[in-house]
Amino acid sequence: MTTAALPMPRAVAFWRRIPVWRLVFYAIMSAALYATYLRLFHGLGSATNLSNEFPWGIWIGFDVLCGVGLAAGGFTLVAIVHIFHIERYKPVLRPAILTAFLGYVLVVVALMLDLGRPDRIWHPLVMWNPRSVMFEVAWCVMLYNTVLALEFAPALFERMQWRRPLRIVQAISAPLVIVGVILSTLHQSSLGSLYLIVPSKLHPLWYSPLLPLLFYVSAISVGLAMTIFESWHSAKAFGKQLEWPLLMSLGRLLAVVLGVFLVMRFMDLSRRHVLGAMLEPRPEVYLFYLEIALMLIPVVVLFSGAVADRPRLLYFCAVSAILGFITHRLNVSVTGIQAMTGASYVPRWTEIAITLGLIAAGFAIFRTAAKYLPVFEHPVEAEVREST
């Protein structure tokens, strides 16, 4: 199965010798740690450019909104493999669950830094307000984190050969996957519902009663795109062969879901009679075009059939879909709000450092976990075969 190592181009060999990525990693992590110190010991005022006029910045707009979405591959693939029982997708299931688990842990870290009183993060457990979307999101994220830990636990238990805990986790797998998919459905859409409360503060190109549905569908699309993205990188990093036919069919699925998203998006704009806003020469409108273009390109390319036998093109489609998704969420959380309220906000270096630090930590932990745990193998199948 393993391919013979290709002769490495000289330029790559040169860069391999200088640990440039390692240096970048350490630089980012040091900046992020110093920023964390500033945040914790000097307050949000010195660590962010947030203001009374603009109280939610990129820690919410990117780290939380995009982080949760980018982790959606976990529930999407769990639904495909375990509930719809399409087993051929199994090779990408565990990496997707790992991505989701890491994503959610990092989202919680970001949230802890963004909350004014992180020491009170447990308050929603005992102080209830069921009318609040934030209350629902808090509960769902907390419960789903537990589900993800249990869904990923088999990888650890197999590695440690802990058979009893493994059997217990496997025994509750059916309710676990169903609860996981329901919780994901609820809070992925609720992230959109958060913005339903600001009809006068969000630009009409983005404010829509359909926001919960749009956030849900775009989360599924980016979950698929992330799965393609990380399969590509893992194959490179660990010298494994690409699961090509599998990724191709994920790509087709991605095209369908993205297509559905775009159709919904434009039908909604037309139904609300705001298509005219697209013609105004304003910065937020250009960002709207960027968002649409980044999502439309993969749909066109994937449906045209040009991707057959061209893994690199599929990879670029996935990257484009991911960037389109990020642009959409930042347009909702930053651009669209600024356009309506006139509030000024440019993230401070500390906000960017912590965001980059979380991404870098995510990559590093994923790599480490994939190296030491059976993430890319399918020992469950092997075990089943042995036992029968």
Binding site: P124, N129, R131, S132, E136
Partner: protein
């Protein structure tokens, strides 16, 4: 039964006695520099604003169906029967959804603190409970800010507009904005020229999220049953196929 404040911009002389009284009541520093500040903040819970020859006044509007109270994940805000919307700092986790969601852009944050709280006017709830008027209306020398029963305040506002139609912009701000507020404004000019937010819906905002949130129990229950059914069917189909496959294997 609920009380409301009525601020009549045409009577206001911009003396800022209300600002001073408010700062005193909250024990916040007040000096010439603070007096100059024209925006609500953690140390300024009411502001008299100047717009040409007119004055305006900003403070918490004490909505009848407050957005802040609906969005707060821990229920730190409460709409009291007397009218004021109060805030319990001991519950607050600092998510700032109230600030983000408030249609009037009122709640402010203690950005400089490492144990920050949200700041906003509570319409002197403790004084109102004791049967007294708010500190600002007590301090107002011209009667530009008065307080009393909301219906009485609305009747008074209507009377002033009817008696002097040329002197007033013919609307009461707060009668319907965001579903109605317990802070009512009168002005000579349109309210956006007094620094008030425009384009606000004339209905309360909390139903916008509640309409979706109230579906959660249905989605959870119907979804679980549906997914459980799909799970059972797909796995059953697989088990049947396996069983038949084994028979085939046995025959060979």
């Amino acid at each position: 039964m609920a009380n409301a404040l009525l601020y009549d911009s045409t009577l206001c002389v911009g003396c800022k006695a209300c600002e001073t009284a408010c700062a005193e009541r909250w024990k916040l520093p007040y000096n010439d520099q603070v007096a100059e500040e024209a925006v609500l903040s953690d140390h300024k819970l009411t502001v008299v604003t100047t717009h040409g020859e007119n004055f305006g006044r900003r403070m918490c509007m004490h909505c009848q169906d407050p957005t802040c109270a609906s969005v707060c994940p821990v229920g730190a805000f409460e709409k009291t029967a007397l009218g004021p919307v109060t805030y319990d700092a001991a519950k607050c986790i600092g998510c700032r959804y109230c600030m983000f969601a408030c249609p009037f852009q009122v709640p402010a944050y203690e950005w400089g603190s490492t144990l920050p709280k949200v700041s906003k006017c509570d319409q002197c709830y403790d004084r109102q409970k004791a049967g007294k008027v708010t500190a600002c209306s007590e301090a107002c020398p011209t009667g530009a800010t008065i307080s009393g029963d909301r219906d009485a305040m609305i009747a008074e506002a209507r009377k002033r507009i009817a008696e002097n139609p040329a002197g007033y912009y013919p609307r009461i701000y707060g009668l319907q904005e965001a579903g109605g507020t317990n802070m009512l404004l009168l002005s000579k000019v349109p309210f956006e020229q007094m620094g008030m937010p425009k384009n606000l819906p004339n209905h309360a905002l909390p139903p916008l999220t509640w309409n979706v949130l109230s579906l959660v129990p249905d989605i959870a229950s119907v979804g679980s049953v549906l997914l459980g059914g799909v799970y059972w069917i797909t796995h059953r189909r697989d088990a049947v196929a396996k069983a038949e496959g084994r028979q085939d294997g046995g025959r060979q």
